[in-house]
Structure formats: C-alpha cells, structure tokens
C-alpha cells in the first residue's frame, strides 16, 4: 500500500454524553475505492462531515496529501451526503452548473462539465426539468452528478448504495471503479458490510467512533488464521472434527448441512486435516473459506452488526428521554 493520500488522525467529537468520534484514525490510499464500514451509529457520517468541515472537531486533524485539509483543498473534494438533497425547484442543468461554479470552475468549464455529467449519467433531455419533477432514481443520479461535476480529486459518498436496486448498485459501483481508475481517491461508507466487499479494495471498519480494523479486503477476509470448510458425507454434526487437536485448529461453527468451519493454526497442515476427515468418511467439500466482513466485525468486537445497531438505537432513545426530561 502506498502512503495514504487522505488521513483521518485522532478525530474526536462529543455530542453531550455520547462520543460520536473517539480518537478515530485511518488512512485512505490514492486512487483506490475505499470502504468506510460500520454499523449505523458508529460515527461514519460525523467523520465524513468532518472531512468537509461541516462538523467541528473537538480534537484531531484531517490531512490531504500530507497537509491539513483547508478550504481550498476541500474545494477539490466531491461530496454526496447521506441525507440526499438538492434544490427542489431548480432545474437540473442549472443545479449541476451551480455546484460546478461553487467549486471554483469558470462559466465555460462549468457549462461543459454539467453537460458532460448529465449525459454520462443518462439524464440528457431532462436538463430543464425541475429536480422535484424527476423520478427517485433520477434524483439520485442528479445528486451524483453534483458530486462529480467539478472532477474532484477525492470523492466522498455517504451510504451511496442505500436505497438502490441491484441494477443501481452495479451502476454505482462501476462509476466508483471508473473514477478510481482515472486516479480519483474514492471513499464511501456503508453499514451493509457484506454488500460492498466486492466493490472496494480496502476498508476501514469502525465501531463506537473508533477504528476496529483496516486494510485490504482480501487480507482481512483471510485473517491471521485461514479457515477451512470441510464436509464429510453422512456426518451432519461434524463429529469427525472432535478428533482435531488444538494445535491444528478450532471449529468456529457447524453449518446445518454438516460443514465444519475450522480456523487452522499457522503451524497446522491442511493435508493432515483432510486425512482426518477422509478417515471418517467420503469428503464432499474441502476448501479455504474467506470470512465475510460482518464476521470480521463480530470477531473483533464480540458483537454482530445487528446487535451493535440495536444497542445504538436503544442508547439514542435513552438520550432523547433524558433530554426530554430536562426540558
């Protein structure tokens, strides 16, 4: 991995009793599609807002290419917030051009860029349509056009895949990959960890405003201890695996069809495990098995993504009640 182009360094932000960001630190390498993952309420939106200076930080720093990200640097960033929003009564072309101008383009360049992205995102013919008269899908495209129109060097998208149908997810991911191929650093957030594991090259997973783990997706999914999935015909309880020594590996789980998921120790020999399985009966399935990102999360935090989100929602309600009582 090259030295990171965007660095979030020790970000802290306190909202009342809740620490939205609690010393969050990670780096995003240049020209990659980078996933910023975590359950709802982990602090992703707050961190992304901090990149644009929309949220003030209690401590910490955002660095872009080795220097603190100031207003001029931010003007070369493109942003698609989680709460999508455009001027409802403004026409599509005017809107896209307006944001190009706000990002410092001159009138000619802004006009050309607006036209380019409207065409590229399949919105041509709708230039004079008011935003509120566009379909939901087309409003999403308009939002993306606004984020892309000034040809940003860093693209930050908060939950770009939420609310998209499978076709929309494919379109969105192909655009993100295309931008990364053109040299743009792409940072996007998602609370659906497993949905995006094929889309991004590297990820940072956060929880409670802190980094849980970060790195290339392939490495994270393999983990320190590679995992084998082994099934012996007729043995639905994976009883054969009881013969495994602690030195060769541990059984993480047994699936309903009898497949044992075994984290092998570094010293273990996979062929020895295969021999043990064959001794018990015909082996139907034997393969290395990557973990899902949500499993990576569970292993690191001890809680599933769903549990973490439920916990967050409960904390929110409690906080709301306290505030209500104070009023």
């Amino acid at each position: 991995m090259t030295s990171p182009e965007l660095v979030l360094d020790g970000l802290r932000r306190q909202y009342g009793a809740v620490a939205a960001l609690d010393g969050l630190t990670f780096g995003v390498p240049a020209g990659e599609v980078f996933g910023f993952l975590g359950p709802n309420g982990a602090g992703k939106t707050t961190a992304m807002r901090a990149i644009f200076g929309v949220t003030a930080l209690d401590a910490g720093e955002i660095r872009w290419r080795g220097r603190p990200a100031d207003e001029a640097a931010r003007r070369s960033f493109g942003y698609m917030p989680e709460e999508r929003g455009l001027y409802p009564a403004m026409e599509l072309y005017d809107q896209v051009e307006y944001f190009a101008l706000l990002h410092g383009m001159d009138h000619a360049a802004a006009a050309a860029a607006a036209k380019h992205w409207i065409d590229r995102l399949g919105l041509s013919g709708r230039e004079a349509t008011r935003i509120d008269a566009l379909s939901h899908g087309n409003q999403q495209r308009a939002q993306l056009a606004v984020a892309l129109v000034h040809n940003p060097e860093l693209l930050v998208l908060d939950e770009p895949f939420s609310g998209l149908d499978p076709g929309g997810i494919d379109d969105m991911s192909s655009i993100l990959k295309e931008r990364a191929a053109a040299g743009v650093t792409v940072l996007f957030s998602s609370h659906q960890l497993d949905l995006v594991e094929d889309i991004c090259e590297a990820v940072a997973i956060i929880h409670h405003g802190r980094l849980v783990v970060s790195g290339p997706v392939a490495e994270l999914r393999r983990g320190d201890r590679p995992r084998l999935a082994v099934r012996v015909a007729g043995d639905t309880a994976a009883a054969w695996a009881a013969g495994l020594g602690a030195s060769s590996g541990t059984v993480d789980a047994v699936r309903a069809d009898g497949t044992a998921e075994i984290s092998i120790t570094s010293a273990a020999d996979s062929q020895a495990i295969l021999d043990l399985a064959r001794a018990a009966g015909p082996v139907e399935h034997f393969a290395y098995q990557d973990r899902s990102l949500s499993e990576v999360f569970r292993q690191a935090t001890g809680a599933s993504v769903g549990q973490a989100e439920a916990e967050h929602a409960a904390a929110n309600m409690a906080a709301a009640e306290t505030t209500g009582a104070r009023r």
């Binding site: 949220t55 409802p88 383009m105 360049a109 860029a113 995102l121 399949g122 606004v146 129109v149 191929a181």
Partner: protein, 412 residues
Amino acid sequence: MSTSTTGSAPAAGGQGGPARDGGSLRMTWLVARREIRLRAKTRVFVITTVIMLIAVALAVALPAILSGKSKPTRVGIVGGDSATLSSIVTEAGRLSGGQAIAVPEPSQAAAVAALRSGDLGAVLVDGKEIIVKQVGLGGPSGAVASLAQLAGLSHLVQTVPGAAAAVAHGVALPVRGLETPSTSLSSRLTGLFTVVIVWVLISVYGSQIALGIGEEKSSRVIEVLLSTVRPVQLLIGKVLGIGLLALGQAIAMVIVFIVAGFASGSSLVHGATLGVVIAGGVFIVLGYAFYCTAFAAAGSLVSRQSDVNSTIMPVQLPLIIAYALSYTVIYATGANTFYRVLGFLPPTAPIAMPVLYAAGDVPVWQVVVSAAVCAVGVVWMARLAVRIYTNSILRTGPRISIRQAIRESRNA
C-alpha cells in the same frame, strides 16, 4: 448510473480546469446571483411586481383624476349685463381651482332645457339666481359654490348703497394660527409612502428569505452547500441577492410614484422634499438589512417550511408596532416621546425615523445619528444571525429555541 460505462475521463473537468480560487466575495456573489436568477424568472415575481406598480400608480393618480378639474363647468347666462356676468363666471371657475365658461342663452326656457340635457352645469338668471339640475346634499360645491358667492356679492354691491366700500376692505375675517404646521401634508405623505415601502418589502422579502433558508434545510441541500460554501457566505449571499431584487422593485415603485404623480398633477409629489426621499432610501436599506438577517436566522431554526411563519412572527413584532403607531404621527402635530424613542432603536427606527423626519419632528442631525445607530445594529444583528444560523442549520428534528442556538454556538 447509466449502464454504458465507458471509461473516458470527463473532458470538461480535465481540460477546462477548475480554477479552485473561489474568493469569499465570488462565493457570496454566486449565492446572490442564484437567488436573483431563480426568483426573477418565476411568474409569481413578475405578476406581483406588475400589481405593485399598478397599485402605486393608481394610488397616486386616481385622487387627482377623480377631482375632475380638467373638465370646465359650462354656465348659461340669461339676462343682465352679459359682459360683467361672464367675467364673474370665469373668476368663479378660477377661485374654485378649476375652470368655468360662460355661455349666453337666448331665454330661460332654452337655458333650462340645456341644463336638463347636461349641456350646461348651471344657469345664472339676471345675475340674481342660480339654477342647477340637482343641488348636492352638502349644498352647492366647486365652481357653482364660488359663483353663488361672487354673483351674490356683485348683486349686493349693485343694490345696497355703501356696500362697495365695505367689499373693497374685504368681507372675510383674517384667520391667524398660533402654530404653523412644520411641514406640509405632502411631505408627511411622502414619509408615509416610505413607511409603506419599508413595511411591504420587509414583510414580503423577509418571509421569502426565511422560507428559502427553511427550504435549504428541509431539502437537505444545505449539507452539500456547506461542503464548499461557508455559512456566512450563504447567509449574506441570500440576503444580498433577494435584497437587490427588493431594491430594484423599490426603485421601480419610486419611479412610478414620481411619474404618475407629475403626469396626473397630484399634489402628493409637490412639496416632497429631496431630504425626505433620501432619508427614506437610507432607512429602507438599513431596515431591510437588519430584518432580513434576523429572518434568515429565524428560518434556520425550523426543520419544516410550514413552521417558518410561526418563527418569524416574534421577529416582526417591533416592526408592526412602529408601523401601526406611525399613522398617529403622520396626521398629528408633534410626535410623543415614546415614538421619538422608537426612532433611535434599530428594530423600529427604519419605520419611525423617516416618519419623524417627514413630519418635521426631528432635525437632520438626529436622522444621521439614528442611521448610525441602525448601521451598528445591522452589523450586530448580522453577527448574531450568522451564529444562530451556523449552529442550527444542520440540526433537524423539533424547532430549536433561539436561546439554545446562541448558547450552543459558543462551543460549536
């Protein structure tokens, strides 16, 4: 998100090259420009402007036109010395502020017939009697009333010995006032006109600013905006853009006021001193700047546009009080102390001070002091508004109290 995913880099962005300068003034102007272009294009704006201008033109010109002095009264003369009576008729017309024409008639019957047909407005018989088609409820008026007096006087001089001498000294008693009004009614009415403009512009455009900010907040476009534009640039740009539109409308209203006034010969424009007009202009700008930044802050407190009206009502209150009280000053001699105090408070001065000055209740230096106080108030209000706005514009949910917004802005 089209499915044709060609990997070509965007030509526009690549070559046209974002300038990435974005000076503070440029940003503010871009925001202002959007407001002007978007609003000036709408049918509502065009229609309201036209209606406003027509209303001003009618308000100025109608009274002058309805007084009907352009149409001379035709008076038939039967018998008597027609030369003398003709000159009496002409003089009566002049005295009434209009015009009267003497028309010799061969007989009383012919004159009455002409009266019935509407060809004549009145008939003077033998210099002793005046006949009209119908006497008005309040007695004769206009040229006819003057004619009745003049002809009566002439008859008196001819029939009563010594009356001529008495008339030569004048029959009317002189009237002397202890105090003369310090300014003419016209000047006061110009002051009133200023007040109406301040009131209309602030209410119309102030609520538009609050609604516009509510729109940016409720549509959530604000977060995209804030990723490149500073809150102060957004707020000032919006107030400036809408303000320039408002100023354009105000100038158009003043031009229509002056043109319609002169064209119809309305007494409203005569005696309107330049000073009152200038003071009015200065306070229109100050009042707008003060209230519209306040309205912007109020608009940022709500999450839904429908809540905007309830938030701006308290902000408008001082303006409403000053507006209501100004009518008592316009038509009275001497303003009371309370109203004079209002003339120096930034929230009420934009209405109260032009009125006080137009009514001649304050000297010029006090107007200047008030304007200076107002200017300080505008800067203070703008700072407070930016603070409230910055702190509340990204917060959604229930309405935020002003105290909360100010308090939390300290640690934001």
